[in-house]
Amino acid sequence: MSGRSKLLKVVLLGDGGVGKSSLMNRFVSNKFDAQSYHTIGVEFLNKEVTVNGENFTMQIWDTAGQERFKSLRTPFYRGADICMLTFAVNDRKSFENLPMWKREFLYYADIQDGAPFPFIIVGNKCDMPNREISEEMAQSWCSRNANAPYFETSAKDATNVQLAFISAVSRMREMEDQLEVKPVQTNSVDLSKKQKPLNSGCCS
């Protein structure tokens, strides 16, 4: 281990049962446990990654999704570098709750109003046959939400899981770079896009 890597705090959010813990475990140890428990309290795992030549320690925080545990979950949002909003493509409700999760995160992570923040949207369980949310619906929501990158994953068969997490880091670095350049430059278009839809409502 290099010992020189930058720590990135990643918060995984989404309704109970969409597969947050499974995504984390697939990414960190490439394992999938069909018999795993639902998460109680808060857990996290570290994973060393190299993205575009830079070393990072991703510290991935996984919390219980039920509304009830909100007050014990939200303190962990602070200091996050990346937020992955997850739903299950076979669970419409979990998709409809994305705006709620996003709001909760922005509020408790103490992100300044309108400030761009690297969200990644993950539609998990894409291996399941009974899909309720099409890729188009999800993409459409993302385009209205600062063009957040969208990935359809399956923690079960490992589809796109690595890609989603690694892309999250790239996304964060891109946004950091843009911020450093200050929004006078050509990419000001991007930034204005990002600022507006933060409060945009849910799809339908």
Binding site: G17, K31, F32, Y37, I40, P75
Partner: protein
Amino acid sequence: MAFQNQVLFAKDSVYVHINVQDTKDKDAHIAGRVFLLNKPEGYFIEWKAEDVLNLETTSEEWDVINYKNDREGDSVSMNAKMDARRKYNISFDILDLKSFKRSAPNHGWAYIIFILKDGTTFPALHFHNGGSKALLKELENFIYIRRSPNDPRLFLVKDHDPEQLSQSINELSLFTDSSGAYVQNFVNDSKHGLSKKFIKSPYTTTLGGFSKVTNFLRDVLMTPENSQNLVRPQSEVAELLQDDIPGMEISQLDEPGFEMITKTKLPPRPTVKRGDPLASPQWNSFFDAEGRISKVDELKDIIFRGGVDPALRSEVWKFLLGFYDWDSCSKKRTDQRKRKVDEYFRMKLQWKTISAEQEKRFTLLKERRGLIDKDVMRTDRTHKFFAGDKNPNLQVLYDILMTYCMYNFDLGYVQGMSDILSPILVVMENEVDAFWCFAGAMERVCHNFEMDQNGMKVQLSQIHKLMQIQDPELCAYLEAHDSGNFYFCFRWILIVFKREFHFHEIQRLWEVIWTDRPCSNFHLIISLAILESEKSTLLENKFGFTEILKHINDISLSIPLEETLRKAEGIFLQLRDYKKLPISLKEILGLLPPAHVPASQSMENSMFMGSTSNSSSSLQQEAGVKVDTPTLMAGGAGSGASSVKGVTRSGSGSDLTKGTVGAACSANVARSIGMSARYGGGARQSNGGGAGGNAGATCGMDDVHKVFT
């Protein structure tokens, strides 16, 4: 592929013990092999389950688990059992190793628990055929290990430094036969500043007896120094909780005279003995001619001291959980049970008869159904009772939780409840009994689940208050490392340690707790006991907020139950006998005479005592909590034993299912909603019967058998 992993050490018959019903279960121990490997990326310790190993021998790749890309790593197609075993595989770079615990080998086989720098704590590796020492000796060639001065089982790995390695390590001979001797490390670490030198000075290394003092100093001096490999300062994470959770703010100056508290001198800890589980003859001897339990307190003492024989649990738990009153005679219990059966089915019908159409306009119910559905599929699925697809017991779990929603609609379903129910259902093997016992167990912990989470916050802060007196040093350390909120105990408290112990152990622990002995809130003292056992690991590894959280999460299933219970009772006795024990703590432990409890506070207190306890409440025990000596029945005075036979069976079986459903609905409705199965008696009670009911939908015993066999 090109690089052949060099095997520096290999040893088979190394087992991981997993969470199954009992230790005799052949699946309880997963056999595997442990390796020390020289890989291109570095030196690795790995453990692989045997089945997996055999299947993979065709591939020369060792790093299948961690480094294959997504598609190759696909485990879906592999058979389920192997997959289940493979998930226990361990692999880590030895440079990530922070410390390890090695059990005293004279207690049967040795085991090793490896702990990484980020707090990750692996399950214990049990060396059934020896070899732990040999592995560690091999390891010493690559890393620098020293024994903790405070905990002989704990070994600390010094940060990788070739210079140190070159110092004749072999002289230390940590793992030779003289391993009982302390090996001290006098090496000064020149990299660090004055404070560290101070610590490294002979104070810590030689004056073991004064380690408390020096450790306290060290905490004060060294607080900013943890998590060496992370660049970002901990402070960001650290700000957490202290001010963010309403009601969780914990002032370090809470008790008057913080400095005084750090010098608490509790009375010496008495030796505590545990007893044998309550067994059948003894149990029977407690019943009088009417089938009434004669000496309830004595009986509870026995259960507290040794638990209950598993064969008796389904009966004894009914008393502990308020299904039966302690002072009931067998006739009354028959009536009680009958009423409860009726009541259960009435409530079950309430949700069963809600049509899909109705539910469209009943969002709350629909949401709860969804939550329960998901969690039932994720509760104890490795346990035989719930294993396998379409296991009918999952439906029973579901039905009970749905019915509980009708029983306590205000509370509804909250994650964690399925964990509370599962061990109870396994013991009861009967839907109705399990429901009512679950309701009784929930009565004790329902405050954990309420919307404002206040019950949880109160308990976590109570642990803090208790620790301020019981172990001010550890308390100061946790406070200094942003953990004074005891958030890392959240799972322990929410589901009463359910995920921290093996299944058979949690049943034992719960029946002990349900006796309300030796005090109120004994579960908080149990938390103190576990933390005390982890103290050296936390302090000497200098774990910070995240590492503490991770370590505590990871020690689940490797906490020794009986030892913990002995320790907890010892701590309780120390606190009880401590002359200066603050009133607020006496209150938490129920040690105040009732008259002294201010009304408002007694309410807060009572919510943790559980309403199912005997009417002679724990508060009244203040005068004489008799816990020092086990009051085991000598030989179980046989009188009355015969008269009790049948008590446990009366009113059980198919008779109860008859008439009860009819009481609530017509036979047709009952059939149409599928109520014929699973309802009254379980297979075990099917020999009861007799007084048949008088109405409606009878349930075939065949169905009942099917479910519970």
